[in-house]
């Protein structure tokens, strides 16, 4: 007997009892839908969260100087230049001085967070995005000259100049506790925080402003020596080795080898932890879904056993007409597999719809990979084979005489 014949017989048997077949499939449908939806949403959430982390500094190293360090050990602008020149994997390096103050125009006065750094601050600052939406960032020359220029976050600009299309070219006053300076806005950037929490009212965030480090010294008496430095490396894999070599370089330059005055911190550990928590979550739900599939498989086995009993005489007749043990085995096994596979396909469709709906609610993108689709369909077939084998063997082994006599 050919596979096509067996296939046709299996389809006939399944369609003969449509309601029963559907109810049998239900377990598989629910299991597969759950697996697909969870994989898709889990992938989407992982992408989203690691994406957020990358924005916040997956390739960022923070350098700090111990307060035990003497004057000779303080960081200088020359140190930063040396670090960047020593290693091509370092893409940006800047002091990371942050001041909480106010930004004001003639009409508006808003809380402001002011960052001071080199032109590389554009890339090392994790709050203000490196995307320039208007104007430009400050240059090395403006940094060297302590020029009174500033770059402002785009929603900060909207707060300070609510009626203007762009804040570029406008003057604002930056105010610290001790003094104030007047700066000209030369550019606007996206801000990471507003990008991710666009739903929240804008005015509840402070205005973000970036200015040259030398200009910061005019605003804050504390901004003397460089104590905190942020640097960017090309990829996550560079973080550990660049951290070590940078600390060694600084110790050599300041002749303080072995005194542990410089510390390089990164977010790798935190990132790994998020990865593993997410992985744990996805695995847990997947295990629950797998249990649903096994229950579905038991449903298939149950109904196949009923079917074998119901069709005992049919099996006896087929054997009398020349069906071999193998013919009967394949017929019933194929029936179980097709039942599971149809359930799998329905579940797949349902799971994709479910994933899209839930992802829509969560505001993430569901990721359905073709590997997941193939995996799930293979799994459904495997459930069919595993739970169909026992009933099929039972059918195939029936004694033809007893089967023919069965009422």
């Amino acid at each position: 007997m050919t596979v096509i014949e067996s296939f046709k017989m299996a389809i006939d048997a399944i369609t003969a009892n449509k309601m029963r077949s559907f109810l049998t499939m239900l377990g598989i449908i629910i299991g597969i839908a759950a697996v697909i939806a969870i994989l898709a949403i889990g992938n989407g959430a992982t992408t989203r969260i690691t994406g957020t982390f990358n924005d916040l500094g997956a390739t960022t190293i923070s350098l700090s100087v111990s307060n035990k360090a003497g004057n000779d050990a303080q960081l200088t602008a020359a140190d930063l230049q040396a670090i960047k020149q020593a290693d091509t994997r370092v893409t940006a390096i800047s002091p990371n001085y942050t001041l909480a103050g106010f930004a004001a125009t003639n009409n508006q006065d808003e809380q402001a967070i002011v960052f001071g750094g080199t032109p590389d601050l554009q890339y090392t600052n994790t709050v203000m995005d490196s995307t320039i939406t208007a104007g430009r960032y400050f240059t090395q020359a403006e940094y060297d000259d302590a020029a009174p220029v500033a770059v402002i976050s785009v929603d900060g600009a909207a707060q300070l100049f609510p009626n203007q299309h762009s804040a570029v070219g406008q003057m604002i006053t930056l105010r610290s506790r001790t003094t104030s300076i007047s700066v000209r806005i030369i550019g606007e950037t996206q801000s990471t925080v507003s990008k991710y929490q666009g739903a929240v009212r804008r005015s509840s965030f402070p205005v973000y402003v970036a200015i040259p480090y030398a200009t910061m010294k005019l605003l804050s008496i504390n901004a003397g020596g460089i104590t905190d430095v942020t640097m960017k490396v090309r990829s996550r894999n560079d973080i550990t080795s660049v951290s070590q070599s940078t600390v060694r370089l600084l110790e050599t330059r300041h002749d303080v080898v072995g005194q542990h005055l410089y510390t390089a911190r990164n977010y790798l550990a935190a990132l790994d932890q998020v990865d593993s928590v997410l992985g744990l979550f996805v695995n847990f739900i997947a295990a629950v879904a797998a249990i649903a599939l096994i229950v579905g498989g038991i449903g298939v086995m149950n109904i196949m056993l009923v079917s074998v009993t119901e069709r005992t005489r049919e099996i006896g007749t087929r054997k009398a007409l020349g069906a071999t043990t193998r013919d009967i085995l394949i017929q019933f096994l194929l029936e179980a597999v097709i039942l599971s596979l149809i359930g799998g396909l329905i579940g797949l469709t349902l799971g994709i719809v479910l994933a899209e709906v839930v992802a829509g609610w969560l505001g993430i993108t569901a990721h359905i990979t073709w590997q997941a689709v193939i995996l799930v369909l293979l799994f459904a077939s495997a459930v069919g084979v595993f739970f169909g084998l026992y009933p099929a063997r039972k059918a195939a082994k029936l004694n033809p005489i007893e089967a023919l006599r069965y009422e």
Partner: protein
């Protein structure tokens, strides 16, 4: 050369501590072209004999030769193949597949024989025409009468051109008029050269065969050839 040769066939069932000897040293020869009726009360061994001849059942000792081939020691698969090609079964309760058309029912043995789809349909249609149902190929079994169902079963039995038709109480579920119609088909097939072995407990049905073998307590009690079998004419 004989078609069926059975020598010293013994069949014993063991039920708990009891040994039940159903066939005790049975010798039987059926020649091509014969129409044999096997009779006997229940428990006489006639059904067991039928099952063994039809290769549905095995036996404990003895020899069975079918069409010059020793079929005494065959595997399950080999016996399935011999059943498929050499034996056409007709059952008391027809045993048609309820969800298949008459054509598909008749074509079923050819599915297991590996015959191609087109040839299956042609031969199944021819066999149904031969039993007078050529105009109902696409009907379902539940749309036709018992007598017609048994005709379909006969068409299914002959479609693989077997060496012998084995009919187990083929008229057991039919009224007497329909029974005669069925027996007439067997006579027609037999006249055309098909060997028929039919188990029945109805003496008047057995009268239509050419030879009547009676079983009692696991042995052949009588074996007589009828000089003038009853003719199931069209007028009856």
């Amino acid at each position: 050369m004989s078609l069926i040769t059975m020598q010293h066939v013994v069949k014993t069932y063991v039920m708990g501590d009891e040994r039940l000897e159903v066939l005790k040293d049975v010798n039987l020869t059926v020649n091509p072209g014969e129409f044999v009726a096997i009779m006997g009360p229940s428990g006489s061994g006639k059904s067991t004999m039928m099952n063994i001849m039809g290769l549905l059942d095995t036996f404990n000792s003895g020899l069975y030769t079918l069409r010059d081939t020793d079929v005494t020691h065959l595997t399950d698969n080999e016996r399935a193949h011999v059943r498929n090609r050499e034996i056409g079964f007709v059952f008391q309760s027809f045993n048609l597949m309820p969800r298949m058309s008459l054509l598909e029912n008749v074509a079923l043995p050819m599915v297991y024989a590996g015959v191609g789809r087109r040839e299956r349909q042609e031969r199944a249609a021819a066999a149904l025409t031969q039993v007078g149902l050529g105009d109902r190929l696409d009907h379902q079994p539940n749309e036709i009468s018992g007598g017609q169902m048994q005709r379909v079963a006969i068409a299914r039995a002959i479609v693989n051109r077997p060496a012998v038709i084995m009919a187990d109480e083929p008229t057991g579920n039919l009224d007497s008029k329909t029974s005669v119609e069925i027996v007439r088909i067997f006579q027609q097939l037999n006249a055309a050269g098909t060997t028929v072995v039919m188990v029945t407990h109805e003496p008047d049905i057995a009268q239509y065969a050419k030879r009547i073998i009676s079983f009692r307590d696991g042995v052949i009690q009588t074996d007589e050839t009828l000089k003038q079998p009853q003719k199931a004419g069209a007028d009856q």
